[in-house]
């Protein structure tokens, strides 16, 4: 898992920093919940931005509401980031679909999109975001999870609720469409 921009962690893994805050927040400790909100917002924002390109603020807000509403049901605080990713991707895709104009992409080749790389802060350049914005939402989601989050196809399939074969074909089209959008 590649997690960036979670704030000051003093060298500890982000889920180790988050775990005591999660437990306290689950007990209704509002101050801990507030600190957890500060900790996770950059991660949620980073996931939402490339998927819900034009609705990032709404996607972040809806994701955070869903995450904090569901927090009491999270049994293992160490699983926080994986669980947040599931919730956030679902909300970001839902938000992006509200405004997206879906267009079928012509399959070309399977070359990995060289442009799709985050900088050290986990942020995508405006050019990349612009290219992503021209892709159908389902392609954006699969590209973000596979290329930026580095997840394997089975995990991406589980996250998006589709068959692994569907991820493979979407990824093929997504890479082709990204290359096309990137080269414009």
């Amino acid at each position: 898992m590649r997690i960036q921009g979670e704030g000051e962690s003093g060298g500890a893994e982000p889920w180790e920093v988050a775990a005591p805050l999660v437990r306290a927040a689950q007990d209704g400790d509002a101050l801990a919940m507030d600190e957890l909100l500060t900790l996770v917002t950059p991660y949620v924002t980073r996931l939402c931005r490339p998927i819900a390109v034009t609705d990032t603020a709404d996607a972040v807000q809806e994701s955070l509401v869903a995450i904090f509403k569901g927090l009491r049901g999270l049994r293992d605080p160490q699983a926080l980031y994986g669980w947040m990713r599931t919730v956030t991707v679902r909300e970001a895709v839902r938000m992006a679909r509200r405004t997206a104009v879906e267009q079928p992409a012509a399959p070309e080749d399977l070359v990995r999109p060289a442009g799709l790389r985050a900088d050290r802060d986990g942020e995508l350049s405006a050019d990349i975001r612009d290219a992503l914005a021209r892709l159908p939402v389902r392609h954006r989601a699969v590209l973000v999870l596979r290329e930026l989050e580095g997840l394997d196809e089975r995990t991406v399939a589980d996250l998006l609720g589709v068959a692994p074969g569907t991820v493979k074909s979407r990824l093929h089209r997504a890479r082709a469409s990204f290359r096309k959008a990137w080269s414009r």
Binding site: D34, L37, L64
Partner: protein, 158 residues
């Protein structure tokens, strides 16, 4: 904490309080525009010692040091003589107050020449204790709207 460190999107404590309301299953949450400048509204909301007894029914006194701070100890004294310790986080546009039993929150952002103001009240998920009856009837949207109205009235006086 300040308004930029709490920010996502354009930086909005009111949106943040909405998330907290969802997480805390807040029994009271209200959000309204007040037609007064942010500085004037927040001057009331952040003056906890002087103003909170005017804003919260049955609260006689709220002893807290002045100014912003994180995890500041405070003491609430209720009308029947009930005392309860609170911990307070106060920053520009952002206030959380928490005891063993309840949580209160306020948030504000400038909106044009007015202010968007939000208030939150929640009980903590522990076994009901006798003192909680006091807070039960402080909750609800109607109570929230009344709170915002009182904030506006107090700000109008300044």
């Amino acid at each position: 904490m300040n308004s930029t460190s709490t920010a996502y999107g354009p930086g909005d404590p009111v949106l943040r309080l909405r998330v907290m309301a969802a997480g805390l299953r807040a029994g009271m949450y209200a959000e309204q525009r007040i037609d007064l400048p942010y500085d004037r509204v927040w001057a009331v909301a952040s003056d906890l010692r002087a103003e909170l007894p005017h804003l919260v029914p049955f609260l006689r006194e709220f002893r807290v040091p002045p100014g912003d701070g994180d995890r500041v100890a405070a003491l609430a004294v209720g009308m029947p003589g009930l005392r309860e310790n609170f911990t307070v986080r106060l920053a520009p546009g952002w206030c959380l107050m928490q005891s063993r039993l309840v949580v209160g929150g306020m948030a504000a952002v400038p909106e044009g020449d007015g202010t968007r103001f939000a208030v939150l009240g929640a009980t903590r998920p522990i076994a009901l204790r006798p003192a909680q009856w006091l807070y039960g009837h402080l909750l609800g949207e109607r109570r929230g709207r009344a709170f915002v109205r009182r904030v506006a009235e107090r700000a109008q006086l300044r």
